[in-house]
């Protein structure tokens, strides 16, 4: 197709704009990467000399190890519970009409609007008012509340794209409901369920604000441990920690992208 001079100009302007925006997105991560190898405890750009000692420090700092263990535990239980509850709800919401269906839906999706600090404070004062102990399960409960809407949405989209004819064929051949569910519906939903669970686990692993309200020193999650570190020390240990964090999440996302294609999962295809 013939392109005029102004079309070329527009193309170039678009490319420059795109590069600038992508640059804005990656800039902090490049900077934190450079800073993590800064020899001195005081930041300077460019670093005067280089060192990997902050990585050693990050690995040896006990609160990070403890936080990582807590975070993995909370993310596994939180995502697992949210997956079971969210998938079950998405299924009945998609298939049946029942009393208070929309009320239930509204309440379960409300954490998309209710700020995380309000959810954290709410659970904190609830446990205080009911004289309940605050332990790792309190943190799990907060995380389930926060990630549930994302699981519900992910499974609901998969259910809407599900071809009902397969289930109907199995039913007409005499398949009992549980058998149809386990051998037809569940396998067809599996990609959506796995994607939903992975996103829930990542969101839970990252959750900070609401956790801050309900953790104790023993149940502190990794983001809370990192926040407490910045408040006490100014050295680049947290930069090293951030680089490890970014690398782990990017690797996981790349894996998810290879298997599921992110644009499908996020419905932007």
């Amino acid at each position: 197709m013939y392109k005029s001079f102004s079309d070329h100009l527009l193309d170039w302007a678009g490319r420059i704009l795109l590069t600038l925006i992508l640059g804005f997105l990656v800039l902090p991560f490049i900077v934190v990467f450079i800073a993590s190898f800064n020899e001195s405890a005081i930041l300077s750009f460019p670093p005067q000399s280089w060192s990997t000692r902050w990585y050693v420090n990050a690995f040896e700092y006990r609160d990070f190890g403890n936080g990582l263990r807590n975070s993995l535990r909370v993310a596994a239980f939180g995502a697992g519970i949210a997956l079971v509850a969210g998938a079950g709800f998405a299924y009945v919401f998609n298939r049946y009409d029942f009393a208070f269906k929309n009320t239930l839906n509204g309440i379960l999706l409300s954490p998309l609007i209710i700020p995380n600090f309000t959810i954290g404070l709410g659970v904190l004062v609830l446990t205080a008012a009911a004289s309940m102990p605050r332990n790792v399960w309190t943190v799990v409960a907060v995380h389930v509340i926060i990630v549930l809407p994302f699981v519900v949405r992910s499974v609901y989209v998969s259910l809407q794209n599900l071809e009902r004819a397969y289930e109907q064929a199995a039913e007409s051949l005499g398949g009992r409901p549980l058998h149809v569910l386990l051998t037809i519906t569940l396998p067809l939903l599996l990609p959506g369920l796995v994607a939903g669970a992975i996103f829930a686990a990542i969101l839970s692993f990252n959750e900070f604000t609401a956790s801050l309200y309900v953790v104790s020193q023993r149940t502190e999650t990794l983001p809370v441990a990192m926040y407490n570190y910045v408040r006490e020390y100014a050295d680049p240990t947290l930069a090293a920690m951030s680089v490890l964090y970014v690398a782990a999440v990017a690797a996981l996302l790349l894996l998810v992208h290879k298997i599921f294609r992110l644009e499908k999962v996020l419905n932007v295809d």
Binding site: Y96, V125, L253, H257
Partner: protein, 283 residues
């Protein structure tokens, strides 16, 4: 055989969670109506004193500050996110699309702490930006970005950009390209096609993205707390401060309750306004 298999089994866990959410919100309402007993997390008798305390210029300014922060962040996130979403959806090369997708979405899964800390290193007085500007001689004295509204907005735009891009890309990818082709075949240039066809068709996505950017910014705590450093107060930092510095949980509860009502009201006004605008636009 029942007609509706699994209904009870499948709905039960979510009903339990719904009760948990409701109970937490009710606990906040309950606490907001109780007196503060210094030195205890357990509240005293029923009172409206907390709301009277909030009826003060200082708290009004905090609400105003939060609102301004949300507006600026949503505005810039839209301005930057729209071209990015457009490029993501329309890029012809698959590898470029994947690259844009991964770069814009990875931050979504990095949480507030890592991203905010990274911005602290960029924006600080001895940080990356000031070092570069000083060494190239563009400025003589470091620009103060830490502990300022601008610094918080920059980091918050970075924080909300990925979700804004996802929502805009979803809207843009569902636009029927034949409408654009029709406009082109009738002689419209690319800019005109964009302004008269693509942009208007993507408005519902823009509205949804704005609402989400608003809700995310309103909910953000680590960014205003760490970059604002006490100089930029928002409802989220104020609730934490009242709760954990003064241990006045009844006041923290009433503050977050008012904050929630405020956020819902602003979103309702915004959505109603946009619907009115759309209805007028349709004529």
């Amino acid at each position: 055989m029942t007609k509706r298999p699994f209904l009870g089994w499948f709905a039960s866990p979510s009903i339990l969670i719904a009760f948990g959410i409701t109970a937490s919100v009710l606990a906040i309402v309950q606490y907001s109506l109780r007196a503060h007993v210094p030195g205890s997390i357990d509240p005293g008798g029923f009172t409206l004193a907390n709301f009277a305390t909030l009826w003060h210029v200082a708290y009004g300014l905090v609400f105003l500050n939060s609102l301004l922060l949300c507006i600026w962040t949503a505005l810039f996130a839209l301005l930057i996110g729209y071209p990015l979403a457009y490029a993501m959806v329309r890029a012809r090369s698959l590898s470029l699309r994947s690259a844009i997708l991964l770069i814009s979405l990875t931050p979504l899964f990095l949480g507030e702490i890592v991203r905010t800390y990274s911005w602290m290193i960029v924006l600080g007085n001895r940080g990356f930006l000031n070092s570069v500007l000083l060494q190239t001689g563009l400025i003589e004295r470091p620009i103060n970005l830490m502990f300022t509204m601008s610094g918080v907005v920059i980091a918050l735009v970075h924080f909300t950009l990925p979700i804004v891009v996802v929502m805009l890309a979803a809207a843009l990818s569902h636009i029927d390209r034949n409408l654009e082709r029709a406009a082109t075949s009738l002689g419209a240039g690319r800019i005109r096609v964009f302004l008269t066809v693509t942009l208007p068709l993507s408005i519902p996505g823009v509205v949804a993205a704005t609402s989400t950017a608003f809700a995310w910014t309103f909910s953000a705590f680590a960014t205003p707390q760490m970059i604002g450093g006490g100089q930029v107060q928002t409802i989220s930092t104020m609730v934490y401060q009242v709760g954990f510095a003064s241990f006045n949980f009844p006041l923290a509860a009433s503050l977050s309750l008012m904050g929630l009502l405020f956020a819902v009201a602003v979103l309702a006004i915004f959505n109603t306004g946009m619907r009115q605008l759309e209805r007028h636009g349709a004529h």
